[in-house]
Amino acid sequence: MSATVEQLLRDPRIWRGRARPTLQGQRTGFAALDRALPGRGWPAGSVIELLPRRPGIGELALLLPALRGVAQSWVAPPWIPYAPALAGAGIALERLLVVQPERPRDALWALEQILRAGTSSHVLGWDDGADTRSLRRLQLAAEHGGARLFLFRPARLAGQASPAALRLYLEPAEDGLYLRILKCRGGEPAAMILEFEHDTPVAVHRAAAAAPGGAAGRAA
């Protein structure tokens, strides 16, 4: 194969069936997920769509290992990003920018600006229904700036055509998160359960609920 073709094939936009891409991804922190992804981690310069069935089931915790210490921007987060927990998880607050636009259209614009500037290696965005054209713009901007855009969208949009390099559907599981790869450039669909820390259930009896603070509250 000539050098030019080799070069061309190295372009992240070229998708060659089952061939492994040469581009190394960033470790996700979950071995099972790394194995399922072609670059053995989160692909660079691309949009990664996360489609949780409900917000708050662990979709942000999934990203924590990748977000440690990197320059990042969060655009249109649904609640207040809680600084003590983020700092506790190893996120560098001095390199974190939060952008809270008034309108969804402005959020898409801000995402594109941030991606193109290439000043944040990781960009997190919360979107409620951008069209395919907007997503393509974001994908191009991510390629341009070499940044990863993790785009959180409601699961109902799983059926929409998307130019994202990676699309993950997420559902709560007993001890963590059920994850299904809907689309993966250069890889294959897969499904797995990722375990977070072990959550031991604590039951509070009705009686104890009425009289809080007692050790009885911890009875299983």
Binding site: E102, T119, V202, A209
Partner: protein
């Protein structure tokens, strides 16, 4: 253009073709050319313009003096080493003035008055003998004295400055006044000629009227480009930058449209200001035609090393530019950083900071949710499966004792929540955060 006495002061080639000459009364000029468009002279604008040029000239010399109405004096003895030679410096000044759209005549002399005289004939003399020699052959008019005085001197047969200087001093002073005598002494460096040094104002305000009134904000950009260039030149003279620009668009019968361009770090980069302005313009609907544009800057701040440092950090610059662009469109309050602080009350353990100024004062080893709800939301206990807890937090909240037991929990939809119940109302559960 007419002077204060409504006489023609200067004119364009078309007017010249009609036979207009300097000093012609306005009425006569109008009679010669009925289509003549006469403009009054604007002394205030002239003074402003001269001050602007003085400030700009600070790049060539640290000592400038205004010689109104239309002359500037630059002390260049100290600048010659920096600029190489007098002729090179002269070339730079001439080139700069042309770029700024001015026509100028330059003269170099060892005395201020000498420089004023030599500028009228665009000559240079670097020392006193050379000046004396140069002056000798110049006509009396080069002194810039009043017309009547010049005429009365000419009446006695004196035509050049050399001939005037050759007259006996006492008689000369008696005849033409001691003031003129002193001026001639100052011209030759025989008398002191102290001049007030120009202190440039550390603020800026300029107005420009576009050739045509327009509602199209894009059409205003060239005007702004010119004003920004002017302001940047002024800032260079001060070795300063600005951190905010006040833009006003003036309309005929409407209050002006005002914009404030905030910069995150002081800058004197006109291209960046223009890009920001464009961002503002994209969201702006003009209520009426724009008659004039105005650019103002209140506080000049020293740039220090931020822009002149040798080890240039492109990342920081890019980030700065990005933040400005975002703030321009979304509003500055829409961007922020996060800080963590030491506090028992969960609501007070975090703070909003300026964008890029996030800090981590206190990492909490205890389990804390990644998300905090703006206000606790009630939830039915039946929805919850408690996973870990309780953790008792006792705070004084708004002066009231507040005891809460916090738990990690999961609701029926699988959301991982941070819930609490208050000590005094144990049956009521609230969601305060999401582990996400």
């Amino acid at each position: 253009m007419l002077d204060a006495a409504r006489r023609v002061l200067c004119f364009n080639p078309a007017a010249q073709a009609c036979g207009i000459t300097p000093g012609l009364p306005a009425g006569s000029a109008q009679a010669l050319a009925p289509a003549l468009h006469c403009l009054p002279r604007q002394p205030r604008a002239e003074r402003q313009s001269l001050e602007g040029l003085a400030a700009w000239s600070l790049r060539f010399s640290s000592w400038i003096s205004l010689a109104p109405p239309a002359a500037l004096l630059l002390e260049i003895g100290g600048s010659l080493k920096l600029f190489g030679s007098a002729s090179r410096l002269r070339g730079l000044v001439a080139e700069g003035l042309t770029t700024l759209g001015h026509r100028a005549r330059l003269g170099i002399a060892p005395t201020p008055r000498g420089a004023e005289v030599l500028a009228r004939v665009e000559a240079s003399a670097l020392d006193l003998p050379a000046l004396q020699q140069r002056l000798d052959g110049l006509p009396l008019e080069a002194l810039g004295w009043s017309e009547t005085l010049t005429r009365s001197i000419r009446a006695v047969g004196v035509r050049t400055i050399g001939e005037l200087l050759a007259l006996p001093r006492s008689g000369r002073n008696l005849r033409y006044g001691p003031q003129q005598g002193r001026e001639l002494d100052q011209l030759l460096g025989r008398a002191a000629d102290p001049r007030p040094a120009f202190r440039p104002p550390r603020r800026y305000r300029r107005r420009l009227e576009p050739a045509q009134e327009t509602r199209d904000s894009q059409a205003l950009l060239p005007g702004f480009e010119r004003l920004f260039g002017d302001l940047a030149a002024r800032l260079t003279g001060h070795d300063c930058g600005i951190s905010a620009l006040d833009i006003r668009l003036l309309h005929a019968r409407q209050p002006p449209t005002a914009l404030r361009l905030g910069l995150l770090a002081p800058s004197r980069d006109p291209a960046r200001w223009l890009a920001l302005l464009q961002e503002h313009f994209q969201r702006l609907t003009l209520p009426a035609e724009v008659r004039a544009i105005e650019v103002g800057a209140e506080r000049f701040v020293s740039l220090g090393r931020t822009q002149t440092q040798l080890w240039h950090e492109p990342d920081a610059q890019d980030e700065q530019a990005l933040l400005e662009r975002l703030a321009a469109r979304l509003g500055p309050s829409r961007l922020y950083g996060l800080g963590s602080c030491q506090s028992h009350a969960p609501e007070q353990a975090w703070t909003r900071t300026a964008a890029g100024a996030g800090h981590d004062a206190a990492a909490d080893p205890r389990p804390r949710p990644l998300w905090l709800l703006p206000a606790p939301e009630a939830i039915e206990y039946a929805q919850l499966q408690l996973l870990d807890g309780p953790e008792r937090l006792e705070t004084r909240w708004w002066g009231e004792d507040c005891r809460r037991d916090y738990y990690r929990a999961r609701d029926r939809q699988g959301r991982r929540l941070w819930v609490f119940r208050a000590h005094d109302a144990p049956a009521c559960w609230f969601v305060h955060g999401v582990f996400g």
